[in-house]
């Protein structure tokens, strides 16, 4: 029991939670914004991988870390454009296209990585984003040694960007005309069009921005969480994001909460292992976010708050 409280009171746990959550926050927000406008993007797993490769490669070839993030975002957008072309303009099945893009983006990312990085027996590295404590030592020293210092100042800027992004998207969706237009496009694109909004443009925009966020989430893995790229390093995080969108009932603020909750489980699980060895199969922990999402769906289905036009293609002038 004291072991449990030891784990829970250690700053390391909470710092790990924030760190593990960051790519999930980006990915979940990216998937969420597209779904709000009616487009499911199952390309997420591949887009995250591609973002991880692109960001890393750009930095490895000498660019600034932020240029790496930007490059990842642009690469993500390109895949978002592809997804939108196929699902919005052509109206092809969203899940099929998304699955195709996942395979395409991850294999292409891997291929490009192989072509452009020198053969080495240990993966080449870059200097990743540094924690705030070294980026702004002045402020950090005020908290030195303290709990908050360890939790907050061990993070990199991207983590704060992810949290801010959740707030920003929550505000946009709830309170701005653009947010209303996005919601309308996801609820009834015909109604949006009848109000002078072009749902096609909205869908393109959200899918591309969303894909950019996914790619940044992937880039976090190579530019902040770690310093090299490995094929397969996204390890299903994209699918977890898809689940988290549902868990979050399509709300950015709840997506943030969901990602943190999942990350907490993961961080806790790793620490528990160190003390408890193997009394509980770790798979049970990993199942939690999926099961909670399914539960959330069941509870929510009654309220019918799922975007009503999710996955429904919209072609102008067709009935």
């Amino acid at each position: 029991m004291t072991e449990l409280t030891d784990i829970l009171s250690a700053a390391g746990l909470w710092a790990a939670m924030l760190r593990i959550a960051t790519p999930l926050i980006f990915g979940t927000l990216g998937a969420l914004i597209g779904e709000r406008a009616g487009v499911l993007n199952l390309g997420i797993e591949g887009i995250m991988t591609f973002g991880a490769v692109t960001g890393w490669l750009v930095v490895f070839n000498g660019a600034d870390l932020w240029v790496g993030v930007l490059a990842a975002a642009l690469a993500g957008m390109a895949f978002g454009l592809l997804h939108a072309l196929m699902t919005v303009t052509l109206g092809l099945s969203q899940h099929v296209t998304g699955l195709g893009i996942t395979l395409f983006a991850s294999s292409l990312g891997y291929f490009i990585f192989r072509l452009t990085t020198p053969a080495a027996s240990t993966p080449p590295t870059i200097t990743p984003f540094q924690p705030l404590s070294s980026a702004m030592p002045g402020i950090a020293s005020l908290f030195d040694g303290g709990f908050w210092g360890a939790v907050v100042f061990s993070q990199t800027t991207l983590t704060f960007a992810a949290i801010a992004m959740a707030g920003l998207l929550a505000y946009i969706i709830r309170a701005t005309p653009l947010g209303l237009a996005i919601r309308m496009s996801g609820e009834n694109p015909h109604a949006a069009e009848a109000q002078g909004i072009n749902p096609v443009v909205i869908r393109y925009g959200t899918v591309m921005i969303g894909s950019a966020l996914m790619a940044i989430g992937g880039a976090f893995l190579t530019l902040s969480a770690f310093n090299s790229f490995f094929p397969g390093m996204v390890q299903g995080r994209g699918w977890i994001c898809i689940a988290l969108v549902v868990f979050a009932t399509w709300r950015p603020e709840r997506a943030l909460f969901g990602a943190l909750l999942f990350a907490f489980f993961d961080a806790f699980q790793l620490r528990l292992q160190a003390v408890l060895a193997d009394s509980v199969p770790y798979q049970l922990f990993l199942m939690v976010p999926y099961l909670i999402s399914i539960l959330a769906l069941i509870v929510m289905a009654r309220q019918a708050r799922v975007p009503q036009a999710l996955m429904q293609p919209y072609r102008r002038g067709e009935r």
Binding site: L90, H95, V96, L284, S293, E318
Partner: protein, 350 residues
Amino acid sequence: MRLEKRESRSPALMLLAPLMAVAVALVIVGGLITLAGASAPEAFLKIITGAFGSRLALTETLTRCVPLILTGLAAAVAFRARVWNIGAEGQFYLGAAAVAAVGSGALGTILPAPVLIGLLALTGAIAGAVWLLLPLWMRLRFSVDEVVTSLLLNFVALLIVSMLLDGPMKDPLAFGWPQSLPVPDDAMLPKLIERSRLHIGLLAAIAIALLLHMVQSRTVFGLQTRATGLNPDAARFAGVPPVSTLIKVACLSGGFAGLAGAIEVIGVKGYVTSDLSPGFGYSGIVIAMLANLHPIGVVAAALYTAAVFIGADSMSRSLGVPTAIADVTVSLSLLTMLVAVFFTQYRIRA
């Protein structure tokens, strides 16, 4: 510029569109191959010989077809009735795990081979079906859309299998590797060709596709499920029982996916690991879509997908191009093929 549904489709178009798709994919892949320092024309030749050019190539292509046909049928039969089963991957694993559990137990040692094989195939199908009935139940009971639930259940299934492989199903002789006890040799499907991996599961899969086609096009059940998929209200009005129709469809769909897992165990692998499937369940969805949900088309689309992968994989080995080119080729040609199928149904009007 806008899209317009075609009134009719000319045979030339139906032939040309897929060829265009392949051509576009190959042009892009050719560019990547050139970047990798190999000759694109040589690579294309190697893809073809790699898929069909030797006994090994051909048998491997056909072996890979088997699970793809079955998961493709799983998606096709479900989508036709508007059951959005994205969970074939999970059903595949549970089918495989069930087969290993039953096959490696006492039954595996006492039953004669044909009975045992039949029993195991059925076991896999049932396990897969159950895993799809779960999201279907959630849809019928709570009106929860099955697209997301069946997708999420894939990961749950994989974790369950992984847990079983770490726990009760773990093979103590596997030196700690998370893999199941093997099924007995009697349970293994006979080979079609010696010294290859090709087994009679291929014939079974093709037979199932033909049978399904007959059922869908000739029988009352086929007509009724199609009606349910296209317009559930009208089907109900016409006396088609909606719930039992959906349940039957789910049993077929989940059953096919589970059977795919079962056959992969008793046809190829002999036991279950948590990396048994390189995404067969997901590929099945794309294959079904390429085939326009037509069972015979599924066989063709599965053959195409398998051939592209096996061919490109072998090409990468021959020419020293990074192995990832195989997946790039498959995914690109699936995407272009999707677009091509679309343009057989629509035209662009200025």
